[in-house]
């Protein structure tokens, strides 16, 4: 009896192994559900919508975009693994959120629980002031902060978010103290800067692209100057080792098989190369990043180590 069972199990396994790649190769054969953990209209949402035409060109299928907001993304990420693991449910992820949130307490998931399939986009940190501000350069900012510690109020979106990380890392690297004021949503944060409610804002290059002459970007956290802002120096140029920002990528429920994950990653990496998509992204101030499934572990490892340092600075890790 048991031999029969064993034979049956082996047969089933064989079928699964045989069809696995086949199923993956056919993916997608229907529209894919794309869950965004943030509000409609935000950077993650816009990115997904911009990816859709490229995705459609490649595969002939589209996205069904849904939102699951709350707790800065944690509400969605904590439910990721309970979703159907057939490869047709994808969830947007943001780094360093995935690292920092579990460090901060019980958020319903651990970083290892999230199966990241690819990371395709980066919005680099940007230190921004109002166009009318007396602070004209990064040096001015640092000097003012040193003269009046804590007096500079800097707005950012969320607590323990990418903006917060930027503020903490920068302040530590340069040896100043500024006061971080968290807001909900980029809109409210930028409004605070434009209205002079705060003296500066830790934002992303996307805000600079959007607000153009209303704001002055003091520096951005990229390796080289961004084509959209040729006059804005990088932190690196100024001698501050700050490169990075908020990364966006995709994750799937843990039960999705390997070939499927690779296939999803391949498709999205190809979308990253779509010229129409690239142009729109650059116009918006985004930076494209090509971390496919095979590169994810190395990437996450490096970012994870950096995040632990940040976590210590934020007081999340003892």
């Amino acid at each position: 009896m048991t031999t029969m069972l064993r034979l049956a199990a082996m047969a089933a396994l064989a079928v699964a192994v045989a069809t696995g790649p086949a199923m993956a190769a056919e993916w997608p054969d229907k529209d894919v559900t794309y869950i965004i953990p943030f509000n409609a209209g935000g950077e993650s949402d816009v990115t997904a919508r911009l990816q859709e035409p490229g995705f459609n060109k490649l595969t002939g299928k589209g996205f069904v975009i849904q939102y699951k907001t709350g707790a800065g993304g944690a509400a969605a990420w904590s439910q990721l693994n309970s979703l159907t693991a057939d490869g047709y449910t994808l969830m947007g992820i943001n780094l360093p959120h995935l690292f920092l949130q579990p460090m901060g307490g019980k958020v319903g998931y651990k970083t290892e629980d999230i199966t990241v399939v690819s990371v395709f986009q980066l919005t680099p940190h940007a230190l921004v002031v109002n166009a009318g501000s007396p602070i004209k350069t990064l040096e001015d900012y640092i000097a003012t902060a040193k003269a009046t510690p804590g007096a500079i109020t800097v707005a950012g979106t969320g607590t323990h978010s990418a903006n917060h990380v930027a503020q903490v890392s920068f302040d530590k690297a340069v040896g100043i103290t500024t006061t971080y004021i968290p807001f909900t949503g980029t809109g409210a944060t930028t409004a605070a800067l434009l209205g002079n409610q705060v003296k500066a804002q830790w934002a992303f290059t996307t805000v600079g692209a959007e607000q153009k002459d209303n704001v002055r970007m003091l520096a951005i956290a990229t390796e080289q100057r961004h084509p959209l802002f040729p006059d804005v120096p990088t932190f690196k140029e100024k001698g501050i080792d700050m490169v990075g920002g908020a990364y966006r990528g995709l994750a799937v429920p843990a039960g999705v098989p390997e070939e499927m994950r690779r296939r999803i990653s391949d498709v999205f990496m190809k979308v990253n190369g779509d010229p129409g998509f690239v142009a729109k992204m650059q116009e918006g101030g985004y930076v494209l990043v090509d971390v496919g499934y095979q590169d994810v572990p190395g990437f996450m490892g490096k970012l994870g180590a950096e995040s632990i340092e940040v976590g210590k600075a934020l007081g999340l890790v003892k």
Binding site: T33, V64, Q66, T84
Partner: protein, 152 residues
């Protein structure tokens, strides 16, 4: 119409419960960072004060209660039970099936007229149509993913 009574047991019980809640909030707030605790503590304080005043007024007989508006408590309980059962059955039977059952059961709780086969047949038809239409609208047009159960 609400007629006044001299004693307000409902208010008294609630006020005591709310006093307990405010105590719990204070206790919870111990574990929060400074700024995240400000508001909870302030609200809990206001809640505690208001509850105490209400308790005192009730005990002094100065607080008027709200009279019973009548109506069948049995049916009320039934409605709550139906809604809870409806929710519980969704992951088991599937959204549409559970909704069909829930729909019919709710109709029963609100049915006061006399029994008639024709009426029930008509009602069942309506139930099927309503559930089918709304479920279809939500799942196809609005693309809402419904939880899977045994049936639809």
């Amino acid at each position: 119409m609400k007629t006044a009574r001299a004693s307000d047991t409902g208010g008294l019980v609630t006020a005591v419960a709310m006093l307990a809640v405010s105590g719990w909030v204070f206790w919870e707030a111990e574990g929060y960072t400074e700024l995240a605790a400000v508001f909870p503590r302030t609200i809990a304080l206001v809640l505690a004060l208001a509850s105490v005043v209400l308790i005192v007024r009730c005990l002094l007989g100065r607080q008027r209660g709200v009279a019973d508006d009548g109506g069948s408590h049995l049916r009320r309980g039934a409605v709550v039970a139906v809604l809870a059962g409806w929710l519980a059955l969704i992951p088991v039977l599937g959204f549409a099936t559970a909704s069909l059952a829930g729909f019919v059961a709710m109709g029963a709780t609100a049915h006061y007229e006399r029994w008639s086969i024709r009426r029930w047949a008509g009602f069942m038809g309506l139930a099927l149509a309503a559930v089918a239409m709304l479920y279809g609208l939500f799942s196809t047009v609005l693309r809402v993913p419904f939880p899977k159960g045994m049936l639809l």
